[in-house]
Symmetry: C2
Subunit: 402 residues, 2 copies
């Protein structure tokens, strides 16, 4: 029997939902005005027929795989056929199918940390062994007084051993908000290819890049046996409840994933796939969200810049993604997060889940309506300006229930 | 890396869909006029709000777990709390979460055969070892000339060893259409409880019982550490594309499944759960389907009764479920199934997937519109009356691609 911990993200979100008028910056869902109404209207029309009622292809409905093949081929200048794409129950479901297909019991999977907590759980579910390895550093910025997160390829390279079967990383990174340079990505993909290591690049934040030019793994996935690219509709179109994502991989691997999805999920939910088909043709929705998120990022960073002697040691200005990942004075940030929740009704996520080196950190998701961002900042401002001495007895008691 | 075979059911269904005017009795989907329009209208109303847009509880939305707890408590006269229920991505998704939670690498899982093919694949995905054991027999009926399937508890009992960690069976049975007597179910549940073996009873056909009184494992699941009951909206409401099912189990086990679902699927699709919530309050839809299926069963059995010297050795009249599982003269029925598909454009499923003892058999799903049943019978009538010598060269060639 396997006993996993419920991720703190889910626990904090559940606590937030149970509290009256709590503002949640915990869960990494894009919550800006709900899913676009045109997308839902399209789904409503589909429901007038029986198109979505019955079992479909385990790897996803043909129109969505075809449309994705056109969209991705055009966007990345690489020929990607529908046989190189499969649809999952979210990008997470696609990742589940991949690890269940690829990992043998005892296989080691390298997780460059800070890392998205769920990867380690998924590796354990597939009877693999998660190996955390530091790869992102919060360094003083060269250009100004502020700190910035940096990816360190040498650290990651030095952690690869003969036992490494797979590397999973999110790029742009959840939680740090940085991404690999074109050269770093090329070198990493090349190393993995040469050593026969599967490299799964989770690019669900690919449309939320605020500075710099993001380099996608898609062209590598198009020609590789080992590089796999994950994509999402949850993050790009705010459809987290709909559960549609996809993976780009070698057609032989996808052929092996087919019976795995047939056995484990039968097929991704059909009505959701039709909604995704519509959304995919309306990139303007994502552009709209991205513009709001960039402003949210700026506002939130200005607020963090203004904080002094607040118990926050430093933070890294994210150049992409949904999150601010900041360092606190607490050796374990869980008590701090619980204290903030209690006193200010703002939900954040403690760092411990993101890897052994991340305990001192806290994640804040700014993919929210700007109004909520402003209200949340006002509450946090009040909290930090009061310079609370944490009442450790109380918070440890509550933290123990987290 | 794990390499599973795509189930023949999926392959035959895909072949059928690709052929012009093929009649498919292959896949076990209830296809009678589509999902009820009121259920879909309810889902359409939900889509006017943002209720279904975002992540929800990994174990299912609270209103559905609550409503199921009331419905099941009332139906089975046992108090079942929402904490004893979780929602899965179909009953299959619920089963996936259970085997991933419960099985350690190398654990043996007993599969009474003929068995639903996907169970063995799922056990392999969780790095367990599927152990097929004969448990259903096609015997001459006592009352008339016809044969009937019978469940043999002694056979199953004698296969249980110290290595057995789990038993998975469908009851009513897919593919044989029989179910355990109240005493057999009680004894099996008691044996498993005493030996600390998990007994997963897949009751997705519970509403399709044509003769006799079906005894559910739900009351055992309500009080047991080890008995688990699966239920479905796919079979009971024709919603196979919507992917909603559930399990009733011990609250501690469900607490362990929570983080497993959080890690692997995040949550079941939300809009589907709302549709299920509506369907659950409209059992009359299922009653409507069940009445049609009973007639279909009778018509199909009359047709099989009329077949003589046709290459069909015998069949068992099903007292429940969606299927007729009949014995052929072929040692491997795959060639026969392919010949029928080619000559008559009727898709059936070969027996080999249902267990080592089932190769000689063929499964026919009669959960279809009565018109389609009549047309299919006409085609099969023509096929069998022509008493084809199978052109083995052709069919083996095609069978090899299956």
């Amino acid at each position: 029997m396997i006993l996993l911990e419920m991720p703190s993200i889910k626990k904090m979100e559940a606590l937030a939902q149970s509290m009256h008028e709590c503002i949640s910056f915990a869960q990494g869902a894009l919550r800006i005005g709900g899913v676009d109404q045109h997308t839902k209207e399209y789904a409503r029309q589909i429901l007038l027929s029986d198109k979505a009622d019955y079992y479909q292809d385990p790897l996803g409905i043909a129109p969505l795989r075809q449309r994705l093949s056109l969209t991705l081929s055009e966007r990345y200048g690489a020929k990607i056929s529908p046989q190189q794409i499969f649809i999952g129950h979210g990008s997470l479901g696609a990742l589940t199918s991949l690890v269940l297909t690829l990992l043998d019991a005892g296989d080691e999977v390298l997780l460059p940390e800070p890392t998205y907590p769920v990867y380690a759980s998924l590796v354990k579910l597939a009877k693999g062994v998660p190996v955390f390895t530091p790869a992102y550093e919060l360094l003083p910025s060269k250009s100004d007084q502020r700190s910035a997160w940096a990816f360190n390829l040498e650290l990651l390279k030095s952690a690869i051993t003969n036992q490494t079967k797979m590397v999973i990383l999110s790029n742009p990174s959840n939680p740090t908000g940085v991404f690999l340079s074109p050269n770093e990505l090329q070198e990493l993909s090349w190393i993995c290819e040469n050593k026969g290591i599967y490299l799964i690049v989770d690019e669900v934040y690919d449309d939320y890049v605020y500075e710099g030019i993001f380099s996608s793994s898609t062209p590598y996935a198009a020609h590789s046996q080992f590089t796999i690219r994950l994509g999402s509709f949850s993050k790009n179109f705010g459809m987290s409840g709909w559960r549609v994502g996809y993976a780009v991989a070698h057609p032989e691997l996808i052929a092996a994933v087919g019976p795995v999805q047939a056995a484990s999920i039968s097929n991704p939910t059909v009505i959701s796939q039709y909604a995704a088909l519509y959304a995919l043709e309306h990139r303007e929705y994502t552009d709209h969200y991205a513009a709001i998120l960039k402003k949210n990022r700026d506002v939130m960073c200005s607020f963090f810049d203004s904080l002094e002697t607040s118990g926050i040691v430093s933070y890294g200005r994210p150049s992409a993604g949904f999150y601010l990942f900041f360092k606190t004075e607490n050796t374990d940030s869980t008590a701090l997060v619980m204290d903030i929740l209690q006193r200010s009704k703002v939900a954040l996520t403690p760092g411990a889940d993101y890897g052994p080196s991340a305990k001192q950190f806290v994640r804040l998701c700014f993919a929210r309506d700007p109004e909520l961002i402003a209200q949340g900042i006002a509450r946090l401002q009040k909290y930090f300006s009061a310079k609370h001495q944490l009442t450790l007895f109380d918070t440890q008691h509550i933290a123990a229930t987290l």
